[in-house]
């Protein structure tokens, strides 16, 4: 360490506080949906190497601590005092921006003619043009449909706003005024950061300020390494699935081999599906990118909450993300809803880490974030758009503790909206917003319950948007004999009709009086439910989170009027069938993998990746469709079907592809 232990502690606190002050400035002055409702913004301080040495802990998006500003900085050439860089381009900023609505600003902070730090801030703005309002749709096939791409450029030159850039930018947005409001708020945040850095240098000297940046990174890296050393060494493999890619019914496979060795961790995503022609790709550029490493940060922080939050935490992390895969797409892959894939990446890391640390890691969380949105026409012809509630599931059970019901901070720790403010802002009557009984995966420790939101549409011509509906096909898995959580469900009741079950929706037209109901997936359980202490089951029944019926059939606990019926419980539990202590992914995935087994999909993807990038997705689709064409339409959600003949067919397809690609080396 370069600094003494007193100065380092003081400086560490001050720089972290400076980033929080930047966020306060931004939050108070920002005007748009994403700033106000979901705190989808952040501010930080980057060192001369472009990585963050200071990041806010209590406000803003917590997961972007691993972003790297340097490629964007390098792209604009020489910087002068008063310059501010703007970019939203995931490809040309090399993963700083990760979808186009995120506007990133970087300001160099000078001291006596030298750059001593960079201020960074981003806001998810309302619209940057493209095919659909708000610029984001899972159905976008290429980034060109997602809006204006802004490579790193100087928005402000020596304190003067670049009017040409502003003209071009505002001409390409449906919400130009709101965007400029966000940019002004971000500029104010960067100014706050600059003032704080100047004060810090005046108090401690520039040498200490620069040395402190390095020390803080080293300090975090050492702490992270110490935590990672506690993990039993070895390689752990895990796979998980997204229900589909939004444009087809085909599941997306994510595969990971994680290796812990001497305090380092390597993530190898080989076996993950090729990039998709929908907006779910995660533009990581093959780096230990923020969207691929959230769970590592959580692991380190859980085991050592004192580690400072900065880029040093990820110094010991390396990655293999095959080029052209879902987790390292090539231009012009669409990336608008990359967080949908990131949620499953989180599950994937969680599952793999759990094999190494079964007593630490929880079962799968609900694994969904669905901002259920209503858009209604107004008298002026414009649309009134309001998030009704950001819908999430619960958290997974872990050794020694039940999961959390109806809350999950795994991807983002969003506040919900008061029902009363929603009803004051838009024409809906919310009928229920509650925990969902029997949705949490049963286990010795129970998975957290999902949520139910039900509302009546009060105006004609309103649309409902439900992006991010996931876990409708493959359940949040349980571990060590714990059961998986219930699936996400979506229902619409229209007029006098009965409630109808829907699959995933993108945009749904409604009529006045329609009742919309979304139930999110429950989280996975941990351990055999028949081993759950009966008083806990009784408590859940009393609180209405587990039904009497489930208590008896799933947990083997008989409950009488005056409490647990001990004798009957003992009798049921004595007769219980054997339950495997393995992971339980649910019957749907079980059936799917009888046919599309892990070894077969590994071979298929290995062969696909030897094809030129442009041909992979279509070839994959053709192969899957060839197999699925002979199966029931609701496979694998329907009843058990014989899979043997289809396996043979799949093997034939894979072998043919392998033969065809044996001479190719891959892109």
């Amino acid at each position: 360490m370069r600094l003494d232990p007193v100065t380092l502690e003081i400086l560490g606190n001050k720089v972290a506080a400076a980033t929080e002050e930047m966020c306060f400035t931004l939050q108070r002055t920002g005007r748009t949906l994403y700033v106000k409702e979901t705190a989808d913004f952040a501010c930080a301080l980057a060192g001369v190497d472009g990585t963050f040495f200071a990041y806010p802990r209590s406000i803003g998006v917590s997961g972007f601590v691993a972003l790297d500003c340097m490629p964007a900085i390098a792209a604009v050439g020489k910087l002068e005092p008063g310059d501010v860089i703007l970019t939203n381009d995931p490809y040309r900023s090399v993963g700083l921006a990760t979808h186009l609505p995120d506007l990133h600003l970087i300001a160099p902070y000078f001291h006596e003619g030298q750059i001593v730090a960079y201020g960074w801030t981003f806001v998810h703005c309302s619209d940057v043009g493209g095919r659909v309002p708000s610029s984001i749709s899972p159905l976008n096939r290429e980034i060109f449909q997602e809006g204006l791409q802004i490579p790193p450029i100087k928005l402000v030159r020596a304190g003067q706003m670049n009017e040409d850039v502003q003209l071009l930018f505002t001409a390409n947005s449906r919400t130009p005024d709101a965007n400029m409001g966000d940019i002004r708020a971000m500029l104010a945040a960067l100014a706050t950061g600059r003032r704080r850095v100047e004060t810090l240098i005046a108090q401690h000297g520039v040498a200490s300020f620069l040395a402190g940046q390095q020390d803080l990174l080293d300090y975090a890296a050492e702490k992270a390494q110490r935590v990672l050393r506690k993990v039993p060494e070895g390689t752990y493999r895990f796979t998980d699935f997204l229900d589909d890619d939004a444009i087809s019914n085909l599941p997306i496979r994510l595969a990971l081999a994680v290796t812990f060795r001497e305090g380092t961790v390597h993530l190898d995503f080989t076996g993950t599906d090729p990039q998709v022609a929908a907006a779910m790709n995660v533009p990581s550029h093959g780096k230990p990118h923020a969207w691929l490493t959230l769970r590592i940060l959580a692991l380190i922080n859980t085991l050592d909450p004192t580690a400072p939050l900065n880029a040093g935490l990820l110094r010991n992390v390396s990655i293999t993300a095959p080029k052209g895969s879902l987790v390292n797409p090539e231009h012009p892959a669409a990336v608008g809803v990359r967080h949908a894939a990131a949620i499953r990446v989180n599950d994937l890391l969680n599952g793999a880490f759990g094999l190494a640390l079964p007593d630490v890691m929880p079962a799968a969380s609900g694994g969904v974030v669905v901002p259920l949105v209503v858009a209604e026409p107004t008298e002026t012809g414009a649309q009134n758009v309001q998030v009704v509630e950001p819908m999430i599931g619960g958290t997974g059970a872990r050794y020694g503790a039940d999961g959390v019901d109806g809350r999950d901070s795994g991807i983002s720790n969003l506040a919900n909206n008061p029902v009363e403010t929603v009803e004051a802002e838009i024409g809906v009557e919310i009928l229920s917003y509650s925990l969902r009984q029997d949705s949490g995966g049963a286990g010795k420790w129970r998975g957290g319950c999902g949520l139910e939101l039900s509302f009546r549409v009060l105006k004609d011509g309103a649309q409902v948007l439900g992006r991010g509906m996931e876990r409708m096909k493959f359940r949040p898995w349980g571990v060590r004999g714990g059961e998986p959580g219930e699936l996400t469900e979506f229902f619409v009741k229209s007029g006098a009709q009965n409630e109808r079950r829907y699959g995933k929706i993108d945009v749904l037209g409604t009529e006045r009086g329609d009742i919309i109901t979304l139930r999110t997936a429950g989280a996975g359980g941990y351990g055999d439910p028949m081993e759950r202490e009966p008083w806990r089951v009784h408590n859940d029944v009393r609180r209405g989170l587990v039904s009497l019926d489930a208590a008896r059939t799933v947990y083997g606990v008989a409950i009488a009027a005056d409490g647990v019926d001990e004798a009957e419980t003992a009798r049921i539990r004595a007769d219980r069938p054997y339950r495997s202590p393995a992971h339980d992914y649910g019957p749907e995935r079980g059936l799917f993998e009888q046919l599309f087994s892990a070894d077969m999909l590994d071979r298929l993807n290995a062969a696909l990746f030897r094809l030129p990038a442009a041909r992979r997705a279509q070839r994959r689709t053709n192969i899957y469709n060839a197999i699925l064409a002979n199966l029931p339409g609701d496979f694998p959600s329907g009843p058990q079907v014989p899979t043997q003949p289809h396996r043979k067919r799949l093997l034939a397809e894979v072998e043919a592809l392998e033969a065809e690609t044996s001479t190719l080396s891959g892109a």
Binding site: M1, P5, V6, L8, E9, I10, N13, K14, E21, T25, Q27, R28, G30, R31, T32, V35, K36, S62, G63, R184, A188, T192, Y219, E222, K223, L297, A298, N301, T302, P305, T306, P362, P390, I392, T395, R398, V404, G406, R407, S409, G410, N413, L414, A415, N416, P418, V419, E420, T421, E423, A424, E429, I430, S432, Y433, S434, L435, S454, R543, G544
Partner: protein
């Protein structure tokens, strides 16, 4: 017994602390001010109150019958909430919202810790009942429970054996009278269970927060009511028929009857009373803007006060739960005297763990092994081991030094003194950083303020903090140890009223705003009249929460400079100006929305006369000298007794001024001057 209360002139302020119950007595007849400390009786706090009152009136040569008014602060409610030891309550909610407390605002305490738990709900799910009652956002009743349904619900509640229930209906804030009617209808079936209507208690939009207000009220009400009854009995037996008032979280006070009906208004009265005392003293000393600095055993708190008014907050946290009632805004900024000094890899840390009072700092000799901030004061010579708490408790300096030596060794810092000084630097910088953040959120600059410390360690640390934060004046009041009791005895009557509107501000809505302000003023006046004849004058303070359409946060705009029925243009201009002041810009195009109307009614009580300190033109005489380690070096500091200092005298730093309940440290290049009210003013002697 004296029949006419007008003839009496004695008031007593009382603050119940963990160790001592403090008393301040004022006698308007001769301007006397007396202080007294009675050991607290935590098992039954009213015993110490009654006993101490008997003692202080006797000490003042008076009888209990001479007392006109007793102002009393209590932490019973707060403790019950923090320890989750309140009543067995239930909650009745609109059907479909049984999980209002489980879901809350959906956030977890940490994004990065998968062992994080959510807060324990105040009412478990099996004691939450659904009722088919709700309003639309305009306050129209759209679903109403029938007689049979109400009776059935009452049956369920009875069977659950509850002490009290709270009722919350969706959008009830828009029609509090109607929700109250439903509550009364339910109450008719439940003679033995108090029913609280959330909209009646606090008709502000946001159902979760309003539910908590109602639940907290119900949760502490039985406890508080029985305490008040015992207190009143005890005092009457003593022979006083003085009016008994209770201090409130908003810095004011209310009658025993009001407090029994709305105990939730009193939860945070302790810190509020301290801030109010500081505010009064600052106004008397003509110091226009202060930051109060209360440094206790486990943490330090600040509050901002300007123009004789403290800042209020409508978003505080209590026992892990958000509270939206207006309270005197107090923010924690870091270490207290008991905060533990420790080493983490390469850095020296202070807190957040605290040794508390038991085992306490190493130097207390009660088994504490970890050095604390207090131990660091001792090792650097800032406090005298033989004069702590007026010499009632000898401290073990050698033990403190040993503990800090081991810290120094682990981190390569030379010796115990350097470790102690480093720890004080870390603690001070941490406090200053949080102070900056707190002020930055309000667009304020610390250098515009004076720092007014109180609490055990506040005066010891204040100069260090002021220096670090760029604050150019520290004002240390006399008798900082009985500050909260002083705050109680000087308290006005005060109650807050609220109504959420959600309207766009324009010509059409002007009338609606005026009507709402008038209605709230009438409610306030009715309340004040019912409180008795204590107040000598009445005032109202009006404010409106506003925002530009679509904006994230409301900004509170005071309307006291406008007429009682203000023009919409004037209200809008007040908002634009406030927005410009706080955020640096105004938006003349965007529509302005009103979300919530607020009114506080204040019944002023006669001001308390403070004693005048004799003046002296002689230089002050030091009692002794001792080495103190400040600003990186040892100094031979002069030591003074505060009680011998006179107005007009000046002490040059480095110096230490000792008094019964605390120690004042004066840094090198700072001076301490006494004014005629006994306040010590610390200012830099060399302006930079």
């Amino acid at each position: 017994m004296i029949e006419n209360s007008k003839g009496r002139h004695v008031r007593v302020g009382i603050d119940v602390g963990g160790t001592f119950t403090d008393f301040v007595l004022t006698d308007a007849a001769n301007g006397d001010l007396a202080y007294f400390k009675e050991p607290s009786t935590p098992d039954e706090p009213s015993r110490a109150v009654v006993q101490g009152l008997a003692n202080i009136v006797e000490k003042a040569g008076l009888s209990p019958a001479d007392v006109e008014l007793i102002l009393h602060g209590t932490t019973i409610g707060l403790n019950a909430i923090i320890q989750r030891a309140g009543a067995r309550i239930g909650l009745v909610v609109t059907s479909g919202f049984r999980d209002i407390l489980e879901i809350a605002r959906s956030r977890m305490p940490s994004s990065f810790d998968f062992r994080a738990r959510k807060e324990e709900p105040l009412v478990p799910r099996d004691r939450i009942f659904e009722i088919d009652a709700r309003f639309d956002p305009h306050g129209h009743l759209v679903r109403q429970p029938g007689k049979v349904a109400l009776a059935e619900l009452a049956g369920e509640i009875s069977a659950a054996g509850l002490d009290a229930v709270a009722l919350i209906t969706m959008n009830g804030y828009a029609n509090p009278q109607q929700e109250e009617r439903i509550a009364r209808a339910l109450q008719d079936h439940l003679p033995n269970t108090a029913v609280t209507s959330a909209a009646h208690i606090w008709p502000e939009i946001r159902e979760y927060e309003r539910t908590l207000v109602a639940c907290l009220n119900a949760y502490i009400q039985p406890l508080m009511q029985s305490y008040f009854a015992r207190l009143e009995n005890g005092l009457r037996e003593l022979g006083t028929d003085a009016q008994i008032f209770v201090t409130a979280s908003n810095g004011g006070s209310m009658s025993l009857g009001s407090a029994a009906a709305r105990p939730v208004d009193t939860i945070l009265s302790g810190p509020a009373a301290g801030v109010m005392a500081a505010t009064r003293l600052a106004a008397a000393a003509k110091v226009p803007r202060i930051i109060t600095f209360d440094m206790g055993g486990t943490s330090s708190d600040i509050a901002i006060s300007s123009g004789a008014e403290p800042e209020f907050a409508t978003r505080t946290e209590i026992g892990g739960l958000p509270l939206v009632l207006p309270v005197v805004a107090v923010s924690a900024i870091g270490a207290g005297g008991g905060s533990i000094i420790w080493v983490d890899d390469h850095v020296l840390k202070v807190g957040p763990r605290s040794a508390g009072a038991d085992p306490g700092p190493v130097s207390y000799g009660r088994g504490g092994q970890s050095p604390t901030v207090t131990d660091a004061y001792l090792v650097t010579g800032l406090i005298d081991p033989n004069r702590f708490l007026g010499g009632r408790m000898a401290l073990d300096r050698a033990a403190a030094k040993d503990a800090l030596t081991s810290v120094a060794e682990r981190i390569g810092l030379g010796d115990a003194v350097l470790a102690a000084a480093g720890a004080l630097d870390v603690a001070t910088a941490g406090m200053a950083t949080e102070l900056f953040k707190t002020l930055a959120q309000r667009g304020l600059d610390p250098s515009d303020f004076a720092l007014m410390p109180f609490g055990g360690a506040g005066p010891t640390h204040a100069n260090l903090l002021a220096h670090e934060a760029g604050i150019g004046r520290v004002v240390i009041p006399p008798a900082a140890g009985t500050f909260c009791a002083l705050g109680a005895v000087t308290a006005d009557l005060r109650r807050d009223f609220v109504r959420s509107l959600r309207i766009e501000l324009d010509e059409e809505s002007e009338q609606r705003l005026s009507e709402t302000l008038t209605m709230l003023a009438e409610e306030g006046e009715a309340w004040l009249n019912a409180e008795g004849d204590l107040a000598t004058s009445a005032e109202v303070s009006r404010a409106v929460d506003m925002r530009y359409a679509g904006q994230a946060y409301e900004l509170r705009v005071n309307l006291d400079h406008l007429s009682d029925t203000p023009a919409h243009t004037a209200v809008a201009e007040a908002f634009h100006q406030e927005h410009e002041r706080v955020y640096g810009f105004r938006d003349p195009v965007a529509p302005v929305q009103i979300t919530t109307v607020r009114l506080a009614v204040i019944g002023r009580t006669p001001p308390v006369r403070l004693p005048i300190l004799p003046t002296s033109s002689e230089p002050p005489v030091a009692r002794s000298h001792r080495p103190v380690f400040l600003a990186g070096a040892w100094h031979d500091a002069a030591i003074y007794d505060r009680h011998v200092l006179r107005a007009g005298q000046s002490v040059n730093g480095p110096a230490v001024i000792e008094q019964e309940d605390t120690t004042v440290v004066v840094l090198p290049n700072w001076n301490a001057n006494l004014d005629t009210s006994g306040n010590l003013h610390l200012i830099p002697s060399q302006q930079p």
